[in-house]
C-alpha cells in the first residue's frame, strides 16, 4: 500500500474529522455481545474441529426464545485459538436462516409439490411404511436355513454431520430393524 491509507485505517487512527471515532466504534462493538449468553460448541463443517462460542440473547426472560446473535472462534481451543475460516465465520447464518426447514413436509406419490403434514400424522404414516416394508422383506433364515435376521429391502444412510450419541442411537435403530445396508459420508 506504500504511503496510502485505507478508508478503514483512516477512520480508525485519525481525528482529522475533528472528533475521535474510537469510542463510537467501541460502543458499537460492546452493544453486540455485551449482554449475551455464551455457549461452547464445535463447528459442524470440516473435521479440523474448531471450537466456537455461540452468543445468544433473550434467554433470561420468561417465555422468550433466545436467538443467536453472533458466533466466533473460541480462543481457548488449542486447535483454532479463536480463528475461523470464511465458512466458520459466517456460521450464524447456518442457524438463523429463512431457508431452514421448520415444518414436516410431505410429497405424495405422483405429486409435483410439497404439502404440510403434522408430526403426528407423519410419524403414523412413516411407522406404518417401515413396518409394512419390514414385514414384506425381513429374512429370518437364508437359503441354507441359517438364522440371519436381516432386512435387505430398506436402506439407511447418514450420521457424519451428527454427534456420536445420535450415531449410536441410529445403530440401535438399524440393528433393531435388522437393516443390512447402512452407509455414511465416510464412504465418499
Amino acid at each position: 500500500m506504500g504511503d496510502s491509507v485505507s478508508r478503514r485505517s483512516f477512520l480508525l487512527t485519525t481525528t482529522a474529522l475533528g472528533f475521535d471515532l474510537k469510542p463510537a466504534i467501541a460502543a458499537a462493538r460492546e452493544l453486540k455481545i455485551s449482554r449475551t449468553t455464551q455457549t461452547h460448541s464445535v463447528c459442524p463443517y470440516c473435521a479440523v474441529g474448531c471450537s466456537v462460542v455461540i452468543h445468544t440473547l433473550g434467554d433470561k426472560a420468561r417465555n422468550v426464545q433466545p436467538s443467536v446473535v453472533h458466533i466466533e472462534g473460541d480462543p481457548d481451543s488449542p486447535i483454532n485459538r479463536g480463528t475461523l475460516c470464511s465458512k466458520g465465520i459466517s456460521l450464524k447464518e447456518f442457524v438463523v436462516n429463512e431457508r431452514r426447514l421448520t415444518r414436516p413436509l410431505y410429497r405424495a406419490p405422483g405429486s409435483s409439490a410439497w404439502t404440510r403434514i403434522s408430526w403426528e400424522e407423519a410419524l403414523d404414516k412413516m411407522a406404518r411404511r417401515i413396518k409394512d416394508t419390514r414385514d414384506r422383506g425381513f429374512e429370518e433364515k437364508d437359503a441354507q436355513g441359517r438364522t440371519v435376521n436381516r432386512l435387505p429391502n430398506l436402506a439407511l444412510i447418514g450420521g457424519c454431520t451428527d454427534t456420536n450419541e445420535i450415531n449410536y442411537l441410529i445403530s440401535k435403530f438399524r440393528f433393531g430393524l435388522g437393516i443390512a445396508a447402512y452407509e455414511n459420508q465416510a464412504r465418499l
Partner: protein
Amino acid sequence: MASLAATFGRGAMTNGWTDVVNADVILVMGGNPAENHPVGFRFVMEARRRRKAKLVSIDPRFNRTAAVSDCYVPMRAGTDIAFLGGLIHYALENKLYHADYIKLHTNASFLVKEGFGFENGHFSGWNAEKKTYDRSTWQYESDGQGFAKVDPTLEHPRCVFQLMRKHYERYTPEAVANIAGCSAGEFNRAAAIICSTGRPDKSGTILYALGWTQHSHAVQLIHTAAMLQLLLGNVGVPGGGVNAQRGHANIKGSTDMGSWNNLPGYLRLPRANHTSLDEFLKANTPKPLRPNSMNYWSNTPKFMTSLLKAYYGRHAARKNGFGYHNLPKIGESDNNSWGFFFDRMHKGSIEGFLSFGMNPVANGPNTPKMLDALSKLKWMIVVENFETETAAFWNAKKLGEKYYSSFIDPAGIQTEVFLLPAACFAEKDGAFVNSSRWLQWKSAAVPPPGEAKPDQEIIARLFLKVRELYEKEGGKAPQPLLQMSWDYANPLSPSLEEVAREVNGRDLAGKQLNGFGELKDDGSTACGNWIYCGSWPEAGNMMARRGQEDPTGLGLFPNYAWSWPANRRILYNRAASDAGGKGWDPQRTSIRWDGVRWTGDTPDYKADAKPSDFGAFIMLPEGVAKLFAADLLEGPFPEHYEPAESPVPNPLHKEVSSNPLASVFQGALDKLGSAKDYPYVAITYRLTEHFHYWTKHMHASGELQSNFFVEVPEELAREKGIKGGDFVRVTSARGSVEGPALVTRRIRPLKVEGKTIYQIGIPIHWGFVGRVRGPLVNNLTPSVYDPNSGTPEYKGFLVNLEKV
C-alpha cells in the same frame, strides 16, 4: 481408513492437527488444506516458521497449498501410486531409509511363502476366469508353531524387504515421470526433500484428503504412503504419521460407530456362517503371528459381549449368546457398500430409504443413476436442516433443466417422500470427533426453530412407534426390535448425556467404567463402543474438558477434550523409540521409558512393560507394522493401476491397465467412456468459500462464490478457441455440466507416453436446490469404486469439452 487399519492396526489419523508443528517436512498430496482445512493449515505454516520445515505439494492443480510450498510438482490424476512407489524406490536405492526402525517396527524381516510373485500386472494366484485372487501364496512362511519366520539381516530373497525392493525396481524416476507426467528432475527434487526425513533426528508428515481416497485403487494408494512413512521411520513419532484430513465434522465419529460392515468400535458385522456368538468370536479374534505380539484384538470377546449387553440389556445372557441372534447376518459375499446398495435400489429391490443429514443425489457418483434409483422407491424419509436435491429429487427434471431432460416427470414418480425438519449443530449437545480423534463435547445454545426437532427425538419417536405397531399387531420377527434396549429417562427424546454414558460403558452395579481394560466377556459389563470407553468415567464428561496444559511441549494438550483410544494423542508412540526404549530423536518422542514405566502421552503399549516385551503395533497380530499387507484385495504391495477411465493404457502393463478388482457396474446408466470420445482427464474439488453442498443456502458463501465454473488449461483453451468467461459444456459418458470457463495456468498440460494430456478442474458445491444454484458435478462421475473401501472414483475420469 481401510488401508491404515491394515498397515498399522487402526483406521485413523495417526497424529493430529496440533502435532504438525513438530514436522521437518510436510508432504501434502491428495489434499489442499490451505483451502479446504484452512485453520488446520496454520500448523503447517507454523512448522515452516518455527522449524524451517519444508512443504512439498504434489497435485494436478497449482492450488493455494502449492502456492506457499517449497516444492511443487504437477501430476496426472490417478498416478499417486506410481509417484509414491517411485519414492520408495528412491529411498531404497539411495539408502535413505531408517534401517533400524524397519528391522524393529515393521514386517520387513518376515519371510513370505514360496510361490509369491508379480508378473504382467497380476500377483500370484490370479484366477482370470473368476477375476479373483487365491491369496495362499501371499502368506508368511510359518515356523511350525503358528509364528512367522523372520530373517533379521533382511537378506533372505523371500523376506518382505527384498521382495519390496524387487517390486519397486521398475519405479525409476524416469518411469514415474512417464506415468505421472512431471519431469524426472521435478520428481527427484521432491524425492530428495521427502526422503531427507529417513534420519532418526528428522520427522516428516503426510497430509491427505479425498484426493487420495476417491480412486478405484485408493486403499492401495494410502498403503503406499504408509509404507513410505515406515521406511523413513516416520510413524509413531511427533511430526510424523499418515494423516487423513477428514471432510465432515463427525465423519470420524460416525465411522467409529459402525457403518457398512462394521459394528461400533470396528467390530465386524456378523456374516451368515457365524451362526453363533462362539463362531463369530472364533472367526474374528486373531492369533498372534510373533511370540512378542500383544495382539490386542485378542480381547474381541470382551468388546463384543459388552456391546451386546449394551444393546440387549436384560435380554442378553450367556445362555442366549447375549442376544447375538438378534443381530443381522449378511451373506458371506454380500456387499452392502454405497455403490452396491444403490445399484440394488436402481434395480428395484429396495422399497424404503432413510437419509439422516446426507444428500446422495449431490454426494454420490453418477447423478442420473441416483435419481433413477430414488424413483424406484416406495417411500423415502429425509431428515435435514435445509431442503436438499435428495428430498426434491422428484422435481429434478424441472429444477435441473437441461441436465435431466430424459428423467421422468413428477407424475410418473410414485416415491412417497417425508422431509423432516431437524435441529442444527447449535441446537443440540453431544460429541463430534475431529480428524485427530478428539471427542469434543458441545452444548446446545438455542432451541430448534418452529417445529424442528432434535435428531434423537426423531429417531426415538420413529423407533418406538414401529415397536408399538409390532407390540399391538405382531408381525415378522419382532424379537430383535423388542429386545433392543431403550431404557432412557425420557425414551421419546433421550438425553445425549445419558446416551454418552451408555456408550462409555458401566458395570452391573451401574458404575461408569474408567477404560476398556475393565471390559469383561461374561456379561458383567455393558459398553456401547469400546474405543470410547473412558470418555465418561465416574469422574464425569472427559470430552468437555478445556485444560490448556501441554506438559510435553509437543502440542498434545492431554487435558483438552478426550482422544480415543484411552486419551492417546499420538498413535503407535512406542515406535518413536529404539529397542532399548530410547527415542530415535530424544527431543521428539511423546513417551519415555524411565526404566520402570512409560511417561508422557498415554503409551500405545502396556504402561509398565519393558521395551523388549512387545512389538510396537499392538493392534496387529504381527506386533509390527506391515509393509507387506496380504489383507488388501489387489495384492500385498501396491501397484500402479490406471483409473477405470484413462487417457492411456497403463505404461507398466498395458493388458492389465486398471485395477483388476475395482467395483465397476455394467448397467445401462453405468457407461464408461474411452479416450477417443472423451479425451480429457477431469477432477472434482472443493473451494475455500463453500462447504460441500450446504453453504449454497447461505448469503455469505453465495456472495463470495456465487457461480459454478470450469477450470480449463490455457493451452487447451487456445486450441478450442475458448476465452475466459465463455460458456463451455463438459460431457462424460454419464451426463454433462455447463458453466463459464476459467482459463488458467494452474493446470499444466502433461506429457504421458509422449502424448499431451490436459486436465480439467470442476468444483463441487452447486446443485438444483439452494440460494445459489448450478449444475451438480456428479452428473459426470462414474459408478466405479475401490473394492476395499467402496469409495467412488471422483479424481481422474474422462470428459469432453466444447464451447457452447
